[in-house]
């Protein structure tokens, strides 16, 4: 019963995230999906992933979305979809049906060996995964620099200086700095 309630809440939040016209509402509904999924993880006994999902999925990612929306502007979404909605619904239904037929025909298989603890699996048996995570986090830091580099230009735009070139190009920043020095 609890699983059904949490699942229904997650699906409702996901639908609202797609239906909402404002980006900030969609980001908040996404945080709701993350929270419900984290609660399901906790009830399943996956405590470590529940904590990570709650802190990263509902915390860090939501903050990133709010920051990005505040930079890009929360204008109401008025683009018409490329796909007609009934056709998109049919296209979404096809993979769901195929996966569902395979999923519900599966039965649980109990493995004969005793499973190691989470720490042993993460740090010893799946060590290369941790290395990949370190590389990915480094890429994420570079991506954050990509986001933060735009704030520098926007503050310069607010100061009233004209920007002739595209605002994010290095040439335009040099041009602004040369004017400021004069």
């Amino acid at each position: 019963m609890l699983f059904a309630l949490l699942s229904a809440s997650a699906i409702f939040s996901a639908i609202q995230a797609i239906r909402s016209k404002r980006l900030i509402e969609a980001a908040i509904y996404l945080a709701g999906v993350s929270t419900m999924v984290a609660l399901i993880f906790y009830l399943l006994g996956a405590h470590e992933v529940a904590v990570i999902e709650l802190s990263v999925g509902a915390g860090l990612v939501t903050v990133l979305f709010v920051f990005a929306i505040s930079l890009a502007g929360d204008e109401p979404i008025s683009f018409l979809p490329n796909f007609p909605k009934p056709l998109a619904f049919i296209f979404a239904l096809i993979p769901v049906t195929i996966i569902g037929l395979q999923l519900f025909s599966l039965t649980g298989v109990s493995m004969p060996f005793i499973e190691s603890s989470f720490n042993e699996i993460l740090w010893q048996e799946r060590g290369p995964d941790v290395l990949v995570q370190v590389v990915l986090i480094f890429c994420g830091v570079l991506g954050m620099l990509g986001i933060l580099s735009t704030t520098d230009v926007s503050t310069k735009k607010k100061s009233g200086l004209p920007i002739a070139n595209p605002p994010n190009s290095a040439k335009s920043i040099d041009h602004i700095e040369a004017k400021e020095n004069q």
């Binding site: 699983f3 997650a10 699906i11 996901a14 639908i15 995230a17 797609i18 980006l23 969609a26 980001a27 996404l30 999906v33 993350s34 999924v37 993880f41 399943l44 006994g45 996956a46 992933v49 990570i52 999902e53 990263v56 860090l60 990133l64 979305f65 990005a68 929306i69 890009a72 204008e75 979404i77 683009f79 979809p81 909605k85 619904f89 296209f91 979404a92 993979p95 769901v96 996966i99 999923l103 599966l106 649980g108 298989v109 493995m111 499973e115 989470f118 699996i121 993460l122 048996e125 995964d129 995570q133 986090i137 994420g140 954050m144 990509g146 986001i147 735009t150 595209p166 605002p167 994010n168």
Partner: protein
């Protein structure tokens, strides 16, 4: 854990997956696309953990799920950086405007 709970969670995974696929098809806003992609990855991670619970290998599925969450977060960061850059260069968050911008 009784089989009905597993069925409910499998149905939840499928529903989240379907909602996300539908959203990807009808969305053109770059930031909204990243939000929909997050829902898709959450369905995948939930499916991983449920499968681990079914097989009695919850710790192995947790280890893989952590890797997926980290990769997903980096994808969001890079995608948002691209969206903001596109917004500043083109002036819109419309994904179709990117292809038109390339033609110009």
């Amino acid at each position: 854990m009784n089989p009905s709970s597993i069925n409910i969670l499998a149905a939840c995974v499928l529903a989240l997956f379907g909602v996300a696929i539908y959203g990807l098809l009808v969305t053109r806003n770059l930031i909204k696309i990243m939000i929909v992609l997050q829902i898709l990855v959450k369905a995948a991670v939930l499916g991983l953990v449920v499968a681990g619970k079914m097989n009695g290998q919850i710790n192995l599925s947790q280890s893989i799920a952590v890797t997926v969450i980290v990769a997903d977060t980096v994808v969001v960061i890079v995608g948002l950086a691209l969206a903001i850059q596109a917004r500043q260069v083109i002036g819109t968050l419309d994904a179709d405007a990117l292809s038109k911008f390339r033609e110009d």
